[in-house]
């Protein structure tokens, strides 16, 4: 009968879907609007209804006042969303690294299925894993919130320090000078390594003179490993350069991510014996084990740094 009123009520009804008293609510609003339009204008017309409806408010806002307003995740648990997601994702991340290194798939039923992955597949897989982890943690916190119980969630005390939003202690000027020096050193290193690579296709030598250098690695291994190491130097220099202009932790996160990818590439080098000089078999195995352990150690340290930066970023977002 009154198209605008019907459309308005229909819109409110849409936002109230699922509530058993919806029809009753709508009847009451209809009765109120019609009566007010008649009282204020003498008769109910589309124009008078328009005014009354406008005064009554937006359909979504009206509907929201009937909803109980219980949050999806209680404010006290919100910070756990990021804490637990970071924790779960770091486990996922480490398992991904292990799956790539040992070229195996494994299952921790019913929590994790880790397929056999290459480096590129792992990089593509990790964002999906992160979203899954976020979803699982959100679901658990949602269920806890809806249960209405006062549950104290565990979190190690030392980790609370990571939550604190402490400003960086160093003065801005000192920090800039340190970054500038670091960037200059890294840039010099990158340039020198790139120069050596352009001239000799490797940056690793047993003995070095410019007329007749003796390479440490076989040509193919020398080329590939040198390129990865030069990329690491360049990434370091670039990240320090960007830090001259911004103190955003995202720079550290990206830098950590790039470092991990490059370490992964180094670990994946398929050479049985990359050395151009003769090395006894027993010693070769020890050198390989030592280098792999060193790279894994660096990867773990970078991962810890990455997780720390992600936690601090997440806390900053929550604080806002």
């Amino acid at each position: 009968m009154f198209k605008k009123l019907d459309a308005y009520l229909e819109e409110i009804s849409h936002f109230l879907s699922g509530r058993e008293e919806r029809e009753e609510i709508l009847s009451e609003i209809r009765s109120h609007i019609l009566e007010k339009a008649e009282q204020e204008s003498g008769q109910v017309t589309e124009a008078s209804l328009d005014r009354v409806i406008a005064a009554y408010g937006l359909a979504r806002r009206v509907a929201e006042k009937y909803l109980d307003g219980r949050p999806i995740i209680a404010p006290a648990y919100k910070r756990y969303l990021f804490r637990y997601t970071t924790l779960l994702f770091s486990v996922h991340f480490l398992m991904t690294v292990v799956a790539v290194l040992f070229k195996r798939n494994f299952i921790m039923f019913p929590f994790i299925y880790m397929p056999r992955l290459g480096v590129i597949e792992a990089i593509l897989y990790l964002p999906t894993a992160f979203l899954t982890d976020l979803g699982i943690v959100a679901l658990v916190l949602y269920l806890i919130t809806q249960s209405g119980k006062d549950i104290k969630l565990p979190w190690p005390k030392f980790a609370v320090d990571l939550d604190e939003m402490k400003p960086r202690a160093q003065s801005a000027l000192l920090s800039r000078i340190a970054t500038l020096i670091g960037m200059t050193v890294m840039l010099a290193l990158t340039s020198f390594a790139a120069y050596l690579y352009a001239k000799f296709q490797t940056i690793f030598f047993v003995s070095f003179n410019f007329t007749n250098p003796r390479p440490l690695l076989m040509p193919e291994a020398g080329r590939q490993i040198s390129l990865i190491v030069i990329a690491m130097f360049a990434a370091g220099a670039l990240s320090l350069f960007v830090k001259l202009f911004t103190s955003s932790r995202w720079v550290d996160v990206v830098s950590n991510g790039v470092s991990l990818v490059l370490i992964g590439l180094l670990l994946r080098q398929p050479f049985d014996n990359p050395f151009a000089v003769s090395v006894p078999a027993g010693l070769l195995a020890k050198i390989k084990l030592g280098l792999t352990s060193l790279l894994l150690f660096i990867a773990v340290m970078v991962t810890i740094e990455l997780i720390k930066n992600l936690i601090l970023l997440g806390r900053k977002k929550l604080a806002k």
């Binding site: 008293e21 609510i25 009847s27 009451e28 609003i29 009765s31 109120h32 019609l34 009566e35 007010k36 009282q39 005064a55 009554y56 408010g57 806002r61 009206v62 006042k65 009937y66």
Partner: protein, 112 residues
Amino acid sequence: MNPEIANFETEMNRGFLQILVLALLENQMYGYSMVRTIRDLGYEVEENTLYPLLRRLEKNGWVKSKWDVSEERPRKFYAITDAGRGLRSELLGIWRKQNEILRNLMKEKTHV
């Protein structure tokens, strides 16, 4: 009005409106008549706030409602229950106590 003061006013109104509605419903009334009466008393209430409040009070058993369909336009009438009277008395007690604390505090400040 300053938006920050408006926010405070909204917070303060929430409790006051409940007492006001419980006081008004000693005689049965329907929504629109309540809006007008409250306005005549010199106070403003948003219509879209009043109805959800009435629903919450009814859900908790503090008011009861009944549709009157004898007129051309059906109207839903509300009236206070005994439980509602008990609640109103408690709320008025709290309100009086708060008033007294503030009055005494302001008196002390004036003497200083």
